[in-house]
Each structure stands twice: as structure tokens, then as C-alpha cells.
Amino acid sequence: MTTSELLLNGLAAFLTLCIFSFLYKDNPFYKFAERLVAGVSAGYWTMLLYHTSFHDKVIVPIFQQGYWWYIIPTILGIMMWTRFSKKWAWLSRISLAFYMGIATGTSIPVVMYAAIYKQLEGSMNQITTDATGINTLLMTIGLICAVSYFYFSKEHDGWFGGMSRVGIYTLMIGFGAGFGLTVMGRIALLIERIIFLRDYLLVLFGG
């Protein structure tokens, strides 16, 4: 490990310990690491947005490729800056309304495809007489009951209440499995960080 790598890894190890110190309580080391990482990321993100959005989608198309009509969304973007003026702040609402409307409208087919059509396609399965068929039947019943839990126009009592109760149990089984899976992933991240600290200490003290 070169001297510069040693110093950089030392800084990373120090910041890791600063963040871990939050497990004890809020303290100046955590505050330092928190503000450093928030500040650095905000600066980094600003430059990234400048290059990927302003440069690539405004400067290049308008001034290099001659797509003058890109000026229209650019003006909408500039109108967002009017928020700094009390007199002209109302103009920014036009941009916001345009953005919200377009973004919501264009997301409709995507949501229809991913959240409804593909889900429905995957939910219709042949029920066979073997073990797979029983599994499919259970999944189908669980799905129907889970959807009925999200039916808001009817009181959940009687047979419908029973259905929605089975639905929420099905959801909870799914959530439990998801919880376990993600916790395992988080523990893997923790182990990776501890290995990083251990390796650094071994290099530092020549273990």
C-alpha cells in the first residue's frame, strides 16, 4: 500500500468509525462526518446535474446541434429560478404544473404495464394436480385476498372481512421474508466494513 493509499484508507476508516459512533449517541465526530458527507455529496451532485442535465440537454442541443425548440423547456427551467423573487415567484408554479402533469401522464402507460399488466400476466397460472398446482392455488388465493384488503369502499366484516384478513396475513408472510432477506444483506455490508477496518489495521500495524 502506497503512502497516499494509506492516508486515504486511514481517512475512510476514521470516517467509518465516526459514523459508527452514532450507535452510542449523537456526538461531534458523527456531526463532522455527517456534514462532510452531506456537503461533499451536495457539491458532487450539483456538478453532476450541471454536466448531465444543463450541459448535455441544454447547451449541446441548442448551441451545438441547433435544436432551437429545446429553448422552450429551458425557459420553463429558468422560470423555476423566479422563486427567489417575491414578485415573480408565481411563474415557477407554471413550470411545476407542467412538470407534474407531463411526468404523471407519461408514467400512466409505464405503470399500467409494470404494475397491472405484467402482474396480471404473472398471476394467471395453470393449476395442475401436482405439488406445483397446490402452490399456484395458494398463491392465487393469497393474491385475491391481498387485493381485497386494499378495497376501501366496503366495510371489512363478514366473509369479506375474513378474506381481507387472509390477505393481510399473506402480505405479512411476504414482508417477513423480505425483512429477513434484507437484514442478511445489511449484515453482509457490516461485515464488509469490518473487514475493511481489520485489513487497514493489519497494514498499519504490520500484522
Binding site: P109, M112, Y117, E121, F152, T182
Partner: protein, 424 residues
Amino acid sequence: MKLNRKLLWMLCICLLMAFPVNFEANAQEESASDAVDTTGIPPAPPVNVQAMDKPNDNGHGIVITWEPSPDEDRAEDGVIGYSLYRSDEKDGDYTEVRTIAAGMYSIDYEGEVYKYEDQDDREKIGSNPNPDFLEKGKTYYYKIQTTTATGLTSEFSEPVSAAPRGDWFHTGKTSYFIAIIIYFALVLTYIRQAKKGVHLYIRPIGGIEAIDNAIGRATEMGRPILFVLGTGSAADIATIAGYTILARVAKKTAEYQIPVLVPVNEPVVMSVAQETVRAAYAEAGRPDLYDEKNIPYVTAMQFPYVAAVNGIMMREKTATNFYMGLFHAESLLLAETGATTGAIQIAGTDQPAQLPFFIAATDFTLIGEELYAASAYLSKEPLLLGPLKAQDYAKALIIFFVIIGTITLSLGWDFVANIFETSI
């Protein structure tokens, strides 16, 4: 005699078993004698090459199809690929576009047919495609050359041409179109009913009922409320639902004169959140209490944002934390820190992967659709009640199709399932 008869039978059976083997051996011998050594002989070009405008696109794609070269399966020096060339003039200079490996037949056609969609690769992943890739309306010419394992190439196929053009209607989405028309007809019907004063029932939702109590608790303790809109964009549906709940919370906090802190991680979300809180304070008759500094932009990066919000929770000692919107891996980090501070926490998201953490670490969780329903439940506005009712009928239709689709598939009919096979 008996032994001889047995021997005779065994001999017959052996002869019968031997015959097919002999036939096969003869066939192999004949084939070997007929096989021509094709080493060094160039292969034939592919056949039936066709070019056409790519359907259902924005006018920058051409589809080229062809059938294999007759020499594709030859025994010696077989075909390994097809090189596709493009030019904007029939007799002009052709440049190589792509080489397709032999055997990579298109799944869109029955039989052995190759297909290549000539469009900007970024178009295929929806990532900022080059708008000039193929000029709309301009004719392009294509020809294909076959290549063998030893590098021998065929003659070029006869040039074929096509001009890309944009399509106004995506035929692969016709069923979306019908579904959306039905859905919006239901929405408009129920909005009209709600406006006429027809009572539209919505069942009580636990987490929503707790919102007012949580605000009351913060008021009694004299501490601020934290409202986190997640790490989604301003146009994510979960974030939009979050704004509605924020409006309700902000109005209450204005009435009770306690601050609501809304640190955000996206500039546009910040603008919308500021507008939402400003309007809520004005509605509560306390525009003087509105402070823009309580709705700051922190950073767009996920974990630095979490570090900053966790710091706010610890230092401001927030009494109530709301997490309403689109969350990713930060959900547990936020909710767990909130739990250690003793704050009452109410969460809501439509991200199935994050719901388990909110359920485990917060006091109340709005699961998926409950987050969307919350806005209608809280406001009772006809414009929100109508869609909620329409969504319920859409869910009933979904249940209907799942049942019918499963039954019909089990009986061997796939016509119901095919309705939902569509393209994006």
C-alpha cells in the same frame, strides 16, 4: 429339439436387431460418400432479406429480417455469422452495422428467421438516445454478408431499403388505451356523484386515524414535527400522495403553532413541498408562521441525506416523525433512529421491499394503496374520492380477471391471459 428351437428363436431376434444397425451404417456410408468437401468454398449469402420501418416507434428505427444462408449447416467450414451493412445510397459506401451470430434466430418469428432492429442502442434502454441516429423519412439501404468459421465471406445480398417513420399510435398498447378509457369513465362518474353530494363510503384506515393524535402529541410536548417525503422524484405517485398528507399535517401544525420540518433530497420536491406548506399555512389563517427554512434541500444522494435527517431527529428532538413517499434502503435507517429518539412514527410507502422495515420500526404504517387512499380519506374532496372509488372497481376487475384467467388456463384456454400480453 427344444434347445434347438430356442437357439433358432434367439438367432431370429439377433438378426432382427442387427438389421436396423446395418441400415444406419449403410446410410452413414452413403452420406459420407455423398458429402462434398466445402473447405475453401465461399458460402452463399442469406436469403429473403427484407427491411421495413420499425413499427410503433418514434421514427428512428428500421427492422431487417433474413433467412439463413443455404450453407449455414454445411459440414465443413460452417457459417458463424452474418454481417449487416448500411448505406444511405443504393450504390454508395456501406458501413458495417452489426454482426449477428449464426443460430440466433428471432423469437418473433416461427422457423429460422434472423431479425435486427437498427436503432440507437440507447433507444433500446430508453436512455437519452441520439435523435439523429436514423433520419426520419430518409431511405436507408442494407445488405448482408455471410461469414464462415475460417473467415470466408459470401457475396453481398441484394440491397433492400426502408425509410423510418414515426407512429402516432402504438398498436401494442391498444389494450392499455381501452383500459384507461374504462378507468377514466369510472373516475369521472364517481367524481360527478361525489360533487352531487352522494355519500361515498371509505373504510377507516388505522394509520390515518393516528395522524391527528400524533400532531396533538407534538403540540403537548412543544416539539417540532419531522415530515420526510422519501427519496423519490417530485412526480412519483407516492411522493404526490405524500404532498397531500403533508398539506393536512402542515395545516394542523399551523393551527397549533408548532413547526414542521421537511428536509428534502430533490430540488423540485423542495419547491412543491414549500408551495404545499405555504398554501396549508395560508388556509389555516397563519401565513405569518410559514418559514421556508424549515423545508431545506439537503442533498440528492441517498445516504448522506439519511445522515443529515438522522442528525435533525437527534438534535431537534422531534416528537412525531412522518415518512410518506417513495423510500429505498434508507427506510430502516430513518425509522430506527426515530424509534431510538422516542418519537411517535407514522410511515407510508408503496415500495414492497421497504414496507417490512416500516412495519417493524414505526407505530403505524400505511401499506401501499393505503397511502394513496389517505389523501382522499383526509380531504374528502370529490376530486380524490372519485378516483379512489374507481380504483376499487378496477381492483374488483383485477380479481375477476385473475379468477377467470386461472380457470381458463387450467382448462387449456389462454385467450384471457393473452389479453394482458402486451408491449411497453
